[in-house]
């Protein structure tokens, strides 16, 4: 055990130590590489800044003194490899590109990418790779030594543990054995064997002394027990005497001790609880005396506990049920009182209780009756023989509106309308005679004076001797019943009126087929009256035969009774009237049933058919008219069924096609169609027939002369009364001429379109050609201007050199000429530069970006000496909002405008310039489109005459030759602004200064 514990602890310590040492070494190694890296990076900043590769190599070569640095490299700001270093025996190479800054361990190599900075500016990246092999070797040596120490310590612990166990553990184990045998066997006479060694000996003798003391106390306890037993016997005798007394009492008595445990029960208590005194003794009271609250069925607080708590006499709450041992429940009332010796502590409780059953039953019966009366849905009123109201229940109050205190003591006639008083007299008479109750439907008055229909039942009230004392009236509200009854009568009347007023004959039978009713029309048609027909079977009064066969037709009512469904009579039926005459009828019969119940009669509806027959005649005439019309119209017309089978053509059809009906019957029309169109026509027809929508198509039809003509054809469905499509009516209109005219028009349109296209193409071609020419010209002028600068430079340069180096060899005149040459050359150079600038404005790509106008202007003003504050007063008024433009172009534009403003001033005048901007849509920006900014440059210059305003923006236009210039500056401004989708302009008068402005998109 000891060895194991020691082993684990040692192993853990070693592991932690190794781990700690490992982390420590690694951290040291990292710090070393980091600090070497930092020093090297610092030394390298200038080499990267000034791209001195030789110096970089020198810096890195310093690593020869640090053999663990295997690789080093420097990368410039663009990430390009700038210089590398490799240890003498190193084979791997530094990476081509720098990685993310930081240290990383890869296998046995530690790599570092670190920034090379100078004053927070990064010039590049340093890469170092250090070898960790040395550290790994150190660590494995360290681990070996740790394991050797671990094994040695473990062996030492084992030997030491063995010696300790022999001298200390074994005597203690023997002492523990003795103690266990004493406690298990309660044999206090055994003693532990005396052990050697001073401390252990002392322990053993103390243990033995303790055993002797326990043995002595046990004898003392035995003596006390004997005395106590004697006292208890005396007490038992006293108890017996008390029990005898209590047994003879009529009430039940239970006595408990101070803890609430039963000590005694008398005979009555035994009877009520079902427990024997002997069984109950010693049990907690609630076990024996189980009580429940009658209403909640929950046990109330035990009376004994309450007495023990309060120390006073306690009466048990009402409605208490005692549950006996057998489970029977007895209502009881009871009380409990504390038992205490005069002024002494309470040492028990006496509980006295009584069976409460008889008294309770009577109370319950009374209460139940009152509850019934009170909760009855009917009004219940009692009165005495003088007709004075005695009682009045809740429903009476609801029904008649009086509150009990308002009506009790009042005569019953208060409730009875005067015209019904006689009824009451009769009722009272019957009661006096002791006759049984009778229901009477009558009327009563409410408190509001309303008359309400009620049914009243009256029964006499007799006293115990059978004498009549009064009457009780049960008044039932029958308003709803009366209302329903009246509604039924109205409905019946409505039905009779309806039946008599409809034009069809209606006969109703019962479920047996016997006639119950004929309406007026049925009476007229059959010749029978309802009175005569009622009760007869239907065939007796409704005799029908087939018109042609003269055979009787099956009685429709019998058929309905058999099938239970609506039945329609066959056509051609004749009704034989009572007088023997015959009339054609059609009819139908339907079962009468309510909901799902079995049918309880049949209603037969029939109609004189004579008039209908006349209608058919009229239809035939109408058809004749239609045919006459159809034959004479200018279109071809036809009628077909839903499958495309033609049944009729108009005369025009036959005239045009030269066919007969026999040839055209069915799908004969197909032969007249052009083969190229037939499939399509069939398909569109089929679609319209299926979708039940009108049809329209254009196709050629062959005429009798064999030539085709074009027809616009339409067909629409003809529906019967129920909405079913029975036939299709179609027409074909000759549109040949119309079609020809249309085609001619289309052709003309197409031709004109083609002309337009050709014209457009020509214009596009010529525009492209023109553009090319312009481009070539621009390129030409650019290269001329550009190439001209070279000889100019030579002129300028050599003139300068002549002036500086050979000034002493020239006289004043010579120097003057030389200066003129130089000045002319530089003017020429400026002219060419401006032409180049203009050319660039015209040709350059011009990506638009957000440009901060204000800072751009400030930059320009600061960098041009002629715009310096001592030379010119320039006021920039905020805000100058940012614009969408090209910064280089805008620089040019602003420089030129400002340059002009300071240049074109009267001699000796200090130029004053004010620059401000207005945004389109704001006040003071009239004429500026929304989304644009107009920037104004106001000067105090010589001004421009109105007729020159256009001209000054053209290239090579110089208005005032007194001022030096190339005449290109404003042309550049205009071109540049226009290329940024803007506009330029000027407002000026000679001598009053100028306001030049540019409009440019807001950013």
């Amino acid at each position: 055990m000891i060895v194991l514990t020691t082993g684990v602890a040692l192993a853990l310590a070693c592991a932690i130590f190794i781990l700690f040492e490992w982390r420590n070494s690694l951290e040291t190694e990292k710090q070393l590489v980091l600090s070497v890296g930092r020093i090297t990076a610092d030394a390298s900043s200038a080499t990267l800044a000034f791209t001195s590769a030789a110096e970089a190599r020198k810096v890195l070569a310093a690593f020869r003194a640090e053999p663990y640095i295997r690789l080093a490299a420097l990368y410039d700001a663009d990430g390009k490899l700038f210089s590398t270093y490799q240890a003498a025996d190193e084979t791997s190479l530094a990476p081509d590109k720098p990685g993310a800054d930081g240290l990383q361990i890869e296998g046995r190599r530690l790599t570092l990418f670190g920034p090379v900075t100078e004053k927070q500016r990064r010039y590049g990246t340093l890469y170092l790779q250090a070898d960790l092999t040395g550290m790994y070797a150190r660590m494995s040596r360290f681990a070996g030594i740790s394991i050797l120490i671990f094994i040695g310590t473990l062996a030492a612990a084992y030997f030491l543990g063995d010696i300790l166990q022999r001298n200390v553990s074994q005597p203690i184990l023997s002492l523990a054995g003795t103690a266990r045998s004493v406690s298990q066997d309660h044999n206090y006479s055994v003693r532990a064997a005396t052990a050697t060694g001073a401390e252990l000996g002392l322990l053993t003798s103390a243990f033995n002394q303790m055993l002797e003391e326990i043995q002595r106390q046990q004898a003392q306890v035995q003596l006390e027990l004997t005395e106590r037993k004697r006292a208890q016997e005396a007490e038992a005798r006293e108890k017996q005497l008390l029990a005898t007394t209590l047994a003879s009492i009529g009430d039940a008595v239970i006595v408990t001790d101070a803890r609430g445990h039963v000590t005694f029960m008398n005979g009555e208590a035994e009877r009520l609880t079902g427990w024997q005194n002997e069984q109950a003794a010693g049990k907690p009271l609630p076990d024996v005396f189980q009580i429940l609250d009658e209403n909640s069925r929950q046990p109330p607080e035990s009376p004994v506990e309450k007495v023990l708590r309060l120390g006073t006499v306690v009466n048990v709450a009402n409605h208490t049920l005692l549950v006996s041992r057998q489970g029977t429940e007895t209502p009881i009332n009871d009380s409990a009182a504390p038992i205490r010796q005069a002024g002494g502590p309470l040492f028990g409780v006496v509980l006295v209780f009584r069976d409460f059953t008889e008294q309770k039953k009577a109370n319950e019966a009374r209460a139940r009756l009152a509850a019934i009366v009170e909760s009855s849905g009917d009004a219940i009123v009692t009165k005495n023989l003088q007709g004075i109201i005695q009682t009045w229940n809740l429903s009476a109050e609801r029904l008649l509106g009086y509150r009990p205190e308002e009506i009790i003591g009042k005569p019953i006639t208060t409730l009875i309308p005067q015209d019904r008083w006689e009824e009451e007299v009769q009722i009272l008479k019957r009661i006096h005679q002791g006759l049984p109750a009778e229901r009477v439907e009558t009327v009563r008055l409410t408190k509001n004076g309303d008359r309400i229909p009620v049914s009243v039942s009256i029964s006499p009230i007799k006293d115990a001797d059978g004498r009549i004392m009064g009457a009780s009236k049960l008044i039932h509200d029958i308003r709803e019943v009366v209302a329903a009854r009246e509604a039924l009568i109205r409905e019946k009347e409505l039905l009779a009126t309806t039946l008599s007023s409809i034009g069809d004959g209606v006969i109703m039978t019962d479920a047996g087929g016997n006639v119950t009713l004929l309406n007026a029309q049925a009476e007229t048609l059959t010749g029978w009256t309802t009175a005569e027909a009622a009760g007869q079977t239907l065939p007796a009064i409704f005799r029908i035969i087939n018109e042609e066969s003269r055979q009787p037709v099956e009685n429709p009512v019998a058929k309905v009774l058999r099938l239970g469904a609506i039945v329609a009579l066959a056509n051609h039926t004749l009704l034989i009237r009572k007088d023997g005459s015959e009339i054609p009828i059609d009819d139908s019969a339907a079962p009468i049933r309510r909901g799902e119940s079995p049918l309880f009669g049949v209603v037969l509806v029939f109609r004189d058919f004579t008039e209908r027959k006349m209608g058919e005649q009229r239809l035939r005439e109408s058809e004749e008219r239609f045919r006459a019309l159809a034959d004479n119209m200018s279109q071809l017309a036809w009628i077909a069924d839903g499958l495309g089978w033609a049944t009729w053509y108009n005369q025009r059809w036959y005239d045009y096609t030269g066919t007969t009906f026999e040839e055209m019957q069915g799908r004969g029309w197909e032969h007249l169609h052009h083969p190229e169109h037939l499939d399509r026509v069939n398909r569109t027809l089929q679609e319209c027939f299926e979708q039940r929508k009108a049809w329209e198509d254009i196709f050629p039809l062959r005429g009798r002369d064999g030539n085709y003509r074009w027809f616009l054809s339409r067909a629409f469905p003809i529906r019967d009364v129920t909405g079913n499509i029975t036939r299709w009516f179609g027409t074909n209109t000759d549109i040949t001429e119309l079609r020809d005219a249309q085609q001619a028009l289309e052709k003309a349109q197409n031709e004109s379109k083609q002309h337009a296209a050709t014209l457009e193409a020509t214009v596009a071609e010529r525009t492209a050609l023109l553009r090319e020419t312009i481009g070539a010209l621009e390129a030409f002028s650019y290269s001329i201007a550009h190439d001209m600068r070279a000889p100019l430079r030579s002129m300028q340069g050599f003139a300068d050199i002549l002036l500086t180096e050979y000034a002493d060899k020239l006289d004043a005149t010579g120097q003057g000429f030389l200066k003129r040459i130089a000045a002319s050359a530089s003017r020429m150079d400026r002219l060419i530069q401006d032409v180049l600038s203009y050319s660039r404005v015209v040709r350059a790509d011009m990506p638009l970006e957000t440009v901060n106008v204000e800072s751009l202007l400030r930059g320009i003003i600061e960098s041009y000496p002629t715009l310096a504050p001592e030379k010119a007063d320039i006021l920039l008024e905020s805000p100058l909002p940012p614009v969408l433009g090209n910064e280089a172009m805008l620089t040019q534009v602003f420089s030129n405008l400002l340059g002009n403003a300071v240049k074109f001033v009267a001699m000796g005048v200090k130029p004053r310039i004010r620059v401000w901007a207005r945004e389109g849509g704001t006040a003071g920006a009239e004429g500026v489109p929304p989304g644009f900014i107009r920037i104004h440059f106001q000067d105090s210059g010589i001004g421009v005459a109105a007729d020159q305003h256009e001209k000054i923006f053209a290239i090579f236009q110089r208005v005032d030759k007194a001022y030096e210039g190339t005449g290109i500056g404003l042309a550049i401004v205009k071109k540049a602004v226009e290329r940024m989708a803007g506009k330029v302009g000027v407002a000026s008068e000679p001598g009053a200064g100028s306001i030049f402005w540019i409009e440019i998109q807001r950013a």
Binding site: A43, T51, S52, E118, S863, Y864, P865, A888, Q892
Partner: protein, 180 residues
């Protein structure tokens, strides 16, 4: 295209390829011009006014085009914004921190340096026949084998009270003023 803008340049371009080579050369020189500001310490008097910008001046024709302006747009030296200014006369350039003397002005080098006197201005020039540094300028830029070498005249630096970082000195060639 930038190099062809109105404000620029004296250099002569006969062919497009040569233009590009020179463009790269002057881009690099512009970068150097800015980088000097990081490796040189000016006396406190030259940097005292906290509101004024750090000024890099170009005396004579500007060979950098917009490149130098773009390069320093968001940069700061000793917490000052950098401003590029162009001068035609040395008298106007007395308030600069770094002054690049353009090739066009090099014939007048000695006169210019004399005007500048012992002002704390880091003068930078190129070599035409003789190195600028050997003629008394603080830093000369010499192009050798398509590489730009830095030459520093320590006497000139001391006269201008400029402290040049040893890092910069290590990569530079130290020269002395030589009489022509």
């Amino acid at each position: 295209m930038v190099l062809l803008s109105a404000g620029c340049s004296i250099f002569q371009a006969h062919a497009q390829t040569q233009t590009q080579t020179q463009a790269r050369e002057y881009d690099l020189k512009a970068t150097f011009l800015f980088s000097f500001s990081q490796f040189v310490e000016w006396p406190a008097t030259a940097m005292a006014d906290t509101n004024s910008p750090f000024v890099i001046g170009i005396l004579g024709n500007d060979p950098f085009g917009g490149f130098l302006d773009d390069l320093v747009r968001n940069e700061r030296v000793h917490d000052k914004p950098i401003r590029i200014k162009r001068f035609s006369k040395v008298e106007e350039a007395l308030g600069t921190h770094i002054l690049f003397i353009s090739k066009s002005e090099l014939p007048k080098t000695e006169a210019i340096l004399e005007k500048l006197g012992s002002r704390p201005i880091l003068t930078v020039g190129e070599a035409v026949e003789r190195s600028f540094a050997r003629r008394g300028g603080v830093i000369g830029l010499v192009t050798e084998n398509k590489k730009i070498r830095v030459r520093i005249n320590m006497e000139a630096a001391d006269r201008a009270q400029l402290k040049i970082s040893t890092k910069l000195l290590r990569i530079a060639e130290i020269v002395r003023t030589e009489k022509p």
